[in-house]
């Protein structure tokens, strides 16, 4: 769109940063949490933290849907692949560590594992190779879930089933705000999850928890304005739910997508890698669609896996308790080329985003 450049205007950015500085109290710390890998990418890539006062922290919560897939589900995918089912997944799921191995390891040993851009590709593959059994590893939050729901409602080919790993983000946000030692002062709500779910699921934050929450877009100016709006609320002493991303997010969200999700999925308690069990946070197929469940179809079940490898601190990174640079393994034993934990594998993982930014600076020191 023609206006995109203004959403990246450095002069505008500096002026908003100045306003933010004026609104930040001199004493004490303000901690704002976002829950979106792409928000972390924008913040890191555009060096937004360097524009903010030192006592205004923006931390990354569990906004990476690949990072929080428990090892047990990776193990299930690996087992499916080892049984001869063609496992189809998103690119960055391939290298996420299971209890013993990743899907990439399984592929190297001869299993048929394929990377796709979206669930539609899995449907196409299954139709094209009708003689084989396919399983789509359905990972993602509410931005991705509707497309899975759509393909299931549209009656997928008989040789395609689904390993459902979808989760919903508001319960994880509640978990974080309830952590006494995290001391969150505000939330930046995820942009594209919100295009689907609208604003209602966030009402609990100003109403019950009395903290500000602003839905922000993904351009650097979107985030700076989102932060500005939170600070204004804190200054006014009145926490609200506000929407900065009005060009993409409406109050009701995408109702069609919500209905599809409700039709196909029900909400259950679920394990999040690094966070443990969060109630009502995971999606499972409703009875009517149980026939498409890959684990039931192929008799695969892993109850518990090894979520965090020895020395790994992903469980602390994923709740914003430590920065990637505070993990002793960061860019030493754990790098994008040889990742130890899931946060370094996924393109939305906090550690990987920081690692990539660090690498870029080594090549071009004048960047950000």
């Amino acid at each position: 769109m023609s206006e995109t450049l203004r959403f990246r205007d450095p002069d505008l950015a500096n002026r908003v940063a100045e306003k933010i500085r004026k609104l930040t109290p001199r004493k004490g710390t303000i901690k704002i949490c976002h829950v979106c890998g792409t928000h972390e990418w924008t913040i890191t890539h555009y060096g937004l933290r360097s524009l903010l006062p030192k006592n205004l922290e923006v931390i990354a919560g569990p906004g990476c849907p690949v990072c929080i897939v428990p090892a047990s589900e990776i193990d299930e995918a690996v087992q499916l692949a080892q049984k001869g089912v063609v496992v189809v997944c998103f690119g960055d799921v391939l290298r996420v560590p299971g209890s013993k191995e990743s899907l990439l390891d399984a592929k190297a040993k001869g299993a048929d594992v394929r990377v796709v851009y979206g669930v539609g590709d899995a449907v196409r593959l299954a139709k094209k190779e009708a003689g084989k059994d396919f399983a789509f590893f359905a990972v993602g939050f509410e931005t991705t879930t509707p497309s899975t729901a759509l393909e299931i409602i549209n009656k997928p080919p008989e040789n395609l089933s689904f390993l459902v790993s979808h989760r919903v983000i508001p319960p994880a946000m509640r978990l974080l705000v309830e952590m006494p030692d995290l001391n969150l002062d505000g939330f930046i709500a995820p942009g594209h999850v919100s295009t689907i779910i609208g604003l209602k699921p966030y009402e609990v934050f100003p109403k019950q928890y009395k903290i500000p929450i602003v839905v922000a877009g993904f351009e650097p100016l979107d985030l700076l304005f989102g932060i500005f709006m939170i600070l204004k609320q804190l200054n006014n002493g009145k926490p609200l739910l506000e929407n900065e991303y009005v060009r993409a997010v409406t109050r009701e969200g995408n109702v069609k997508a919500q209905e599809l999700m409700r039709k196909v999925f029900e909400v259950k308690d679920g394990n999040w890698r690094g966070l443990g069990t969060i109630s009502s946070s995971k999606l499972g197929l409703r009875d009517k669609y149980e026939v498409y469940d890959a684990c039931s179809k192929h008799n695969v079940n892993v109850e518990q896996g090894v979520d965090i490898q020895p020395g790994c601190r992903c469980h602390l990174v994923v709740i914003g308790k430590i920065k990637p640079s505070e993990c002793p393994l960061f860019m030493r034993a754990c790098t994008p080329e040889k990742p130890v934990g899931a946060c370094m594998v996924s393109v939305e993982g906090t550690c990987r985003i920081w690692a990539k930014a660090k690498e870029e600076q080594l090549i071009s020191p004048d960047l950000g």
Partner: protein
């Protein structure tokens, strides 16, 4: 390298049944699924993993920039 959360704006060039041909700009045309939205030719949509998930409101985009300018021009910050 696909960024999972990232949804990219694209203009709807043509549509047939549940699919649309969209322009991401700079000559990048792709076919995407538009069953999750009500989009017309000429609309901008947000595309995520091959599916349009929302129709973008250009008027709102311009109003956002307008609002930001107003906030920045404001002499007095509201108490």
């Amino acid at each position: 390298m696909i960024n999972m959360c990232l949804a990219i704006p694209a203009k709807v060039i043509s549509r047939k049944d549940g699919k649309a041909r969209v322009d991401f700009g700079e000559g990048v045309l792709r076919e995407v699924n538009i069953e999750l939205v009500d989009a017309k030719v000429g609309d901008y949509v947000l595309v995520h993993a091959g599916y349009a998930i929302q129709v973008l409101d250009e008027k709102e985009a311009q109003e956002t920039l307008q609002l930001w300018s107003e906030i920045l021009e404001a002499e007095i910050l509201q108490k």
